[in-house]
Structure formats: structure tokens, C-alpha cells
């Protein structure tokens, strides 16, 4: 009975996560990517909350930015925006590569995305060090630093995730066209970070 039921279930499930090991956690389809997607809803709500707070501060304030605060330079963050948007296309190449069992391609495109992510972070550090206001200068400055800083933290996490994936490609068969959750999840997360940046850029620099 047990055997027939297990085989029936295995037939129903096309992709299977794990073998029935040590009598625990039977196989079921891989839902991890859906889990990541659901988690990103929560992530986007943090940003949405912070965006709403920023917008309220701005709409309630008498003048924004406050009198005497220098306007933000758009050129550098504009280039940074292009860097981050293009990185979303680059990381997708890695996804295409791994789905063709092309692990060297995966490595190449992940390295390229890491490079773009690091350029973005370096640009942000450069901007921070050359601004004429600090975290505590005024409400405007505080919101600027906390919003961009919180996003920068997410970029850093994305870069670290990619480094983690690269580390795992040491084993040649770790990622394949059949099994590449780490690659897909990282890509999804990176796209998310990218979209958040576009909103943030519009909110902080363009509005």
C-alpha cells in the first residue's frame, strides 16, 4: 500500500525536491521560488511604508528641500540608475545560461552583475562622501540617507547572494538546467532591488 501510494504521488509531481530520507519530509514539488516571491511582497511593503512616510514629510513640509539645503546632483545617480537597470538584463543572461546547462556562462554573467552592483555601491559611497549635508542635518537629509542606505543594504545583500551562488558553482553539477533555485531566486531578488531603486530615484531625485 505504501509503495503504491508513494509511486502515485511521485507520478503526480513532475519535479521533485528531495528523496524520502530518514523517514522525514516526503518529496513534493519545489515551492521555494513561490516562497521567495511571497517574501518579496513583505519586502516591498517595508519600502512602501518608508516611501509613504517620505511623501508625507514632504507634502506637510513648508518647503522641500528646506531652505539652504543644496539640491541633489542628478548626473551620478542617473548613471547609477542606468548601471542597475542594465544589470537586470545581464543577470537574466545568467538565468538563460543555466537553463541550457551552461555553468561557465552562469559564472560569467553573475560576475558581470556583481561588477555592476559594486559599481553602483561605489557610486553611492562617492555620492555620500561628497554631499554637503549629513544624516542629522535636517529631516530632508535624514530621509535621503535612510532611504538610499536601506536600499543600498539590499544591493549589498544581492551582491552577497551572487557571490554565494558563484561559490556553489565550484561543484560543477551543483546548478543545472534541472536544479537552479539559487540562480532564479537571486535573479528575482535582484530585479526587485532594481525596481525599488527606480521608484526611489523618481521619488528622491526627480520629484
Amino acid at each position: 500500500m505504501q509503495v503504491s501510494s508513494t509511486s502515485l504521488k511521485a507520478e503526480l509531481n513532475h519535479s521533485v525536491v528531495a528523496e524520502h530520507t530518514a523517514g522525514h519530509h516526503a518529496e513534493h514539488p519545489d515551492y521555494r521560488l513561490l516562497g521567495v516571491l511571497v517574501f518579496l511582497i513583505a519586502e516591498s511593503m517595508i519600502f512602501l511604508g518608508l516611501f509613504a512616510a517620505y511623501s508625507t514629510f514632504r507634502l506637510v513640509a513648508e518647503s522641500w528641500p528646506p531652505v539652504g539645503t543644496p539640491h541633489l546632483e542628478v548626473l551620478l545617480p542617473g548613471i547609477n540608475t542606468l548601471v542597475l537597470i542594465s544589470s537586470s538584463f545581464v543577470i537574466h543572461k545568467a538565468d538563460v545560461a543555466v537553463k541550457k546547462d551552461n555553468v561557465p556562462g552562469l559564472r560569467l554573467w553573475f560576475l558581470a552583475t556583481i561588477a555592476l552592483g559594486v559599481i553602483f555601491l561605489a557610486g553611492q559611497v562617492y555620492e555620500y562622501t561628497h554631499l554637503e549635508f549629513g544624516l542629522k542635518s535636517n529631516l530632508y537629509a535624514s530621509t535621503f540617507y535612510v532611504l538610499t542606505g536601506f536600499h543600498g543594504l539590499h544591493v549589498l545583500v544581492g551582491v552577497l547572494l551572487m557571490v554565494g551562488v558563484l561559490w556553489r558553482t565550484r561543484k560543477p553539477d551543483h546548478y543545472s538546467s534541472q536544479s537552479h533555485f539559487g540562480v532564479e531566486a537571486t535573479e528575482l531578488y535582484w530585479h526587485f532591488v532594481d525596481v525599488i531603486w527606480i521608484l526611489l530615484f523618481l521619488l528622491l531625485y526627480i520629484w
Binding site: S5, G23, H25, G35, N138
Partner: protein
């Protein structure tokens, strides 16, 4: 070895060597079994409930007399803040969602575990450190701004360390709650056994789906608010500090955007548990299944758009107050649908007035009191009068204690045999109920009057004229404290020495009763199969010998055999008769 045999063995008990709870050490480690994690949640949160209760007794002892004579006013503020935080973030939220959600959802949907067992364990193991951290803040001067932590009150230098600890602790608990929500959503969406559509799910699963969606969307906004608050507290920014150009009302908006939905995170799972318990002990199908299921979703959605009713006195503009007043009152509609459905469920039923049923009926009656005072405070003019008075304290305790905690107690009595494999003592259960019911009403009913007469909440000192009723409240709170003793003794004693529980002591129809008590590691031997709806009581002749009748030639509902008439849309791949079964890989059988 035909499939028909397989299905009739769905309720085979597992040998004792396979049942959970074999090794006690497992409960102190990083287990990935949803049942072990569920028990870890339940026991841990109950300990925090007792700790929160001790803090509350400190408050009530102080309030027995108008003077400040038991604790210092500063310590009173700390007790008040930590009491509320423990009860909300360490007891009701994790107890209901983490505890019962983890234990019951996979069983009820016929899954072997949650979708992400390791994530589940990670979410649990954030709770004990966060709780210990929060309680340790008493050594450094606990946060004293109330669980709402409104700035600028929460930014005072004297409680800086306590407030920082409070923020870290709540952020940890919020993260745990979000991870749990992700797990529940994926589990309920994807792991239901074949043949169980959404409208064949037990109502507790609907409640958990609605709750998880709410936790997923609302909790991160609280995290955002607390991140900004911690910058104000520790880095000297002025997001919420008017002297630096900030706006404390923005904090209130962000805080209540989470904390009003949190009210529903704390009550929706209890609604779900009650919807399971009432039909079993009334021996009747649930009244209005779809209405109850969809009203959970409606409450979940409406709960997201009513937060500013906590801010009627915060300078909220009139038009906004009007919107939030009306939206809040609209929530009474789906909630009323549930209450009337529960009443219709037990109406004319063959009631078994055991401890679980008593607490469930206590839940319905006490929650209605809290719900009605909720509609009162939703009205702007009345709220302006009672804002920040004991009327609010009375209202929220009728919802959280009379509602959520009564619901948890009902569920503990109902599922204790399943979870532990032992029966609880009924007599002591009834004593527990009577003491709790009397103690609860004695503590919180007089607070309505105190509030209307203008006694402010959250303050250690009060005017002489309120002394009499406050003494009554304090005596009531002592009865409430004593009432937990019979339960704790009963639970511990029964767990160790109680009579062995049968697999299905209440003749329930949901899937958790179709396995052994306690269930084996992977819940079911073989594949569980749905042969009836979750509430088909009185549909077809029930034999007490078997848990579920499979077929009955005389009964129209069962004449075609199991899985036929009772399932609106049986899955062809698990159809009962081999001839009817379609191979998923072969559409032409």
C-alpha cells in the same frame, strides 16, 4: 493491493514507535517537524502568557489603591509596556498562528509538513531570544511608553536602553511572524491534498490564509516605522521629533497600519478555531461555510484600511475621520456574519457541554461584548470622549482575552488529545472555565464604567472616586490568575499520566482526526483521502466503530461510495474505484 484498500486505511493508526513525542530532547532542539514546532510555540508562548500575567498582576496590585504604593511610577510604566508587548507579540500572535497554525494546518490539508520546514524552525527560534531580550530590559530600565511607543514619549533619555531593546525585540518577533506568514501562504495554496479545493478546506485554513496575508502586508510597515524610530532614538535624527522638523503623527500612521491589522491577526485564527470546534461539539454542519470563509477575507482586507480610527484625537482631519469611522463600522458586517453563523450552527444541535465547547461558547459571548464596544468606539464623538480611558482597556481585553484567549483555551481543550495522545480531565476543565469566566468579567466589566466616568489609562495614580471599582477589578484579576492553576496542573498531569486518547475522541471529520493521536512523524500512513466534507455531521448514518462511513447503500449521500456525492469535485486521480480513476499521464484510460 488495490487503491480502494489504500483509501479505507487512511485512518490506520501508526505504531507507537512512529508517533511523535518519542524523544523529549527533540522539543528543545532545531526540529523541522511542524508538530514539534507547533508544540514548541504553544508551550513557549504559554510560558510568556504566564509571565505577562504576572506583570498584569503587578499592575492591578498597584491599582488596588489610588496612591502609588506597590511599585514606582516608572516601574509601573515598564510593567505596562512589557505586559502589553508580551501578551501581543509573544503570546497571542505566535500562540495562535505559530502554535495552532503550525500544528493543525498541515494535518487539516493532508500534508506531511509545512512547505518550508527549516524556515519554520528558524521562525520559531527567533521567539525565545526576542522574549528573553524583552524581559531583560527590566534590568536597564524597561521601555515605558506603552506598547505603542509613540514618540516623543518613547524618545526620553531615561528609558533609552529599554526602548532600544524593545525595538530590537519587536523587530525580531515581526520577522518571525513574516517568515511564518510566507510559509502558511505557500503551504495552504500548494500543499492541499489532491481533491481538496479551496472550498473544501476546513475554515481554520481559510482563517490562517487571511491572517497570513495580513501579517505579510502589514508587519513590514511596522518594521519601517521602528527603523525610523531607532534612528531617532540612537542616531539623533528627527523623523518623529517636531523640534527637528519631524512629525510624530507619521509614526502613528505607520504604527497603526500594522497594529490595527494585528488585531485581526490575533482574532482571525481564533475565529477559525471556533468554527472548527462548534460544529464538532454541536454535531451539526457549520452554518454558512462559504460566508464564514469569505468573511475572513473581507475582514482581512477591511482591516488594512481602518487604522486611523486609533487616531481620532491626533489632529486627523474631519473628512478622514469620517472615512475611517464608516470603514470601521463596515467591519461589523463580516464579523456579524460569523457570529450569526456560529449561533445558527449550535442552534438545535446536540450540544456536548465539555470544556472545549464551554470555552468556545464563552468566546462567542465575550467576543460579542468586545465587538459591540468596538462599534461604540468607532464612532468619532464617542471615541473622543473615551479615548485613552479605561473604556478602551475594557474593550481591548474583551476582544483579546474574551476573544483570542478564550479561543486558545477552547482549542487547547479540543486538540489536547490529538497533540499529546492523552485526555484532559473534564472536571478540572470546567472549574477552569468557571473561574476564568468569573475572573475575567470581574476584572474587565467594571472598566467600562471607569472609562466612561473618565479614568485615564496607563497611569499609576488615579482619583479617589474610582477606588471602589478598581478594587473589584484587582480582586477579579486575582481570580483570573488563580484560574490558570487548574489548567496548568491539569495539562501537565494529563500529559504525563492522563488516560490515553483515542484517535478521534470527539468524532470529528477534519483530517487531523483521521490519524493517530499523536500523529506519526509524517502525519498519515499512506495517502489521506477526503471522503467527506469537513463539517458533514449528520449527513449519512455515522457509525461510532469507524471514524468515517465509506458507503451506505441506504443513504442517498453515501450510496455511491466514498468520495462520490460528498465531494463536489473529486479529483480523478484519486477516485475511489479503480475504474473511475484517470491516470494523470494518460488522458485516455
Amino acid at each position: 493491493m488495490t487503491q480502494a484498500q489504500l483509501q479505507e486505511s487512511a485512518s490506520f493508526a501508526a505504531p507507537s514507535s512512529e508517533t511523535g513525542g518519542g524523544n523529549w530532547r527533540e522539543y528543545f532542539g532545531f526540529s523541522t517537524d511542524h508538530k514539534v514546532i507547533g508544540i514548541q510555540y504553544l508551550v513557549t508562548t504559554f510560558v510568556f502568557f504566564l509571565i505577562g500575567g504576572v506583570l498584569a498582576e503587578g499592575l492591578r496590585t498597584e491599582l488596588a489603591t489610588p496612591e502609588s504604593d506597590f511599585v514606582s511610577p516608572e516601574l509601573y510604566n515598564g510593567l505596562l509596556t512589557v505586559h502589553a508587548t508580551v501578551m501581543i507579540f509573544l503570546w497571542i500572535v505566535p500562540g495562535l498562528t505559530g502554535g495552532f497554525g503550525n500544528y493543525l494546518v498541515p494535518l487539516m490539508i493532508g500534508a506531511r509538513d509545512m512547505a518550508f520546514p527549516k524556515l519554520n524552525a528558524v521562525a520559531f527560534w527567533m521567539i525565545p531570544p526576542a522574549g528573553i531580550l524583552l524581559l531583560s530590559s527590566f534590568f536597564f530600565g524597561a521601555a515605558g511608553a506603552g506598547w505603542t511607543s509613540y514618540p516623543p514619549l518613547s524618545l526620553l533619555d531615561e528609558t533609552k536602553i529599554g526602548e532600544a531593546i524593545w525595538i530590537i525585540s519587536v523587530l525580531l518577533l515581526g520577522t518571525s511572524s513574516i517568515l511564518g506568514a510566507v510559509n502558511f501562504i505557500v503551504t495552504i495554496l500548494k500543499m492541499r491534498l489532491p481533491g481538496m479545493g479551496f472550498f473544501q478546506m476546513p475554515l481554520f485554513c481559510w482563517a490562517m490564509l487571511a491572517t497570513s496575508a495580513l501579517a505579510l502586508v502589514a508587519t513590514p510597515v511596522l518594521a519601517g516605522a521602528l527603523i525610523l524610530l531607532s534612528f531617532d532614538l540612537l542616531a539623533g535624527t528627527a523623523f518623529f521629533n517636531p523640534t527637528g522638523g519631524g512629525d510624530p503623527v507619521v509614526y502613528q500612521h505607520m504604527f497603526w497600519f500594522y497594529s490595527h491589522p494585528a488585531v485581526y491577526i490575533m482574532i482571525l485564527p481564533a475565529f477559525g478555531l471556533i468554527s472548527e470546534i462548534l460544529p464538532v461539539h454541536s454535531r451539526k454542519p457549520i452554518f454558512g461555510y462559504a460566508a464564514i470563509a469569505l468573511s475572513s477575507c473581507a475582514i482581512s482586507f477591511l482591516g488594512l484600511v481602518v487604522w486611523a480610527h486609533h487616531m481620532f484625537t491626533s489632529g486627523t482631519p474631519d473628512w478622514l475621520r469620517m472615512f475611517f469611522m464608516v470603514a470601521t463600522m463596515v467591519i461589523a458586517v463580516p464579523t456579524g456574519i460569523k457570529v450569526f453563523s456560529w449561533l445558527a450552527t449550535i442552534w438545535g444541535g446536540k450540544l456536548r457541554l465539555n470544556s472545549a465547547m464551554l470555552f468556545a461558547m464563552g468566546f462567542v459571548s465575550m467576543f460579542v461584548v468586545g465587538g459591540l464596544s468596538g462599534i461604540m468606539v468607532a464612532a468619532v464623538p464617542f471615541d473622543i470622549h473615551v479615548h485613552d480611558t479605561y473604556f478602551i482597556v475594557a474593550h481591548l481585553h474583551y476582544v483579546f482575552f474574551g476573544g483570542s484567549v478564550f479561543g486558545i483555551y477552547a482549542a487547547l481543550y479540543h486538540w489536547f488529545p490529538k497533540i499529546t495522545g492523552h485526555m484532559l480531565n473534564e472536571t478540572w476543565g470546567k472549574i477552569h472555565f468557571v473561574l476564568t469566566f468569573i475572573g475575567f468579567n470581574l476584572t474587565f466589566l467594571p472598566m467600562h464604567k471607569l472609562g466612561i466616568e473618565g479614568m485615564p489609562r496607563r497611569i499609576a495614580l488615579y482619583d479617589e472616586q474610582f477606588a471602589g471599582l478598581n478594587l473589584v477589578c484587582t480582586i477579579g484579576s486575582y481570580i483570573l490568575a488563580v484560574s490558570t492553576i487548574p489548567f496548568v496542573v491539569n495539562a501537565v498531569w494529563s500529559w504525563i499520566k492522563g488516560p490515553k486518547a483515542p484517535d478521534n475522541p470527539w468524532d470529528g471529520l477534519t483530517l487531523e482526526w483521521m490519524t493517530s493521536s499523536p500523529p506519526p512523524v509524517e502525519n498519515f500512513r499512506g495517502e489521506p483521502v477526503l471522503v467527506t466534507g469537513p463539517y458533514d455531521y449528520g449527513v449519512g448514518d455515522r457509525s461510532t466503530e469507524v471514524d468515517v462511513p465509506f458507503s451506505d447503500a441506504q443513504d442517498p449521500a453515501l450510496a455511491a461510495g466514498p468520495g462520490s456525492a460528498l465531494r463536489a469535485d473529486p479529483d480523478p486521480s484519486v477516485a475511489l474505484h479503480a475504474d473511475d480513476r484517470q491516470d494523470p499521464g494518460n488522458s485516455n484510460p
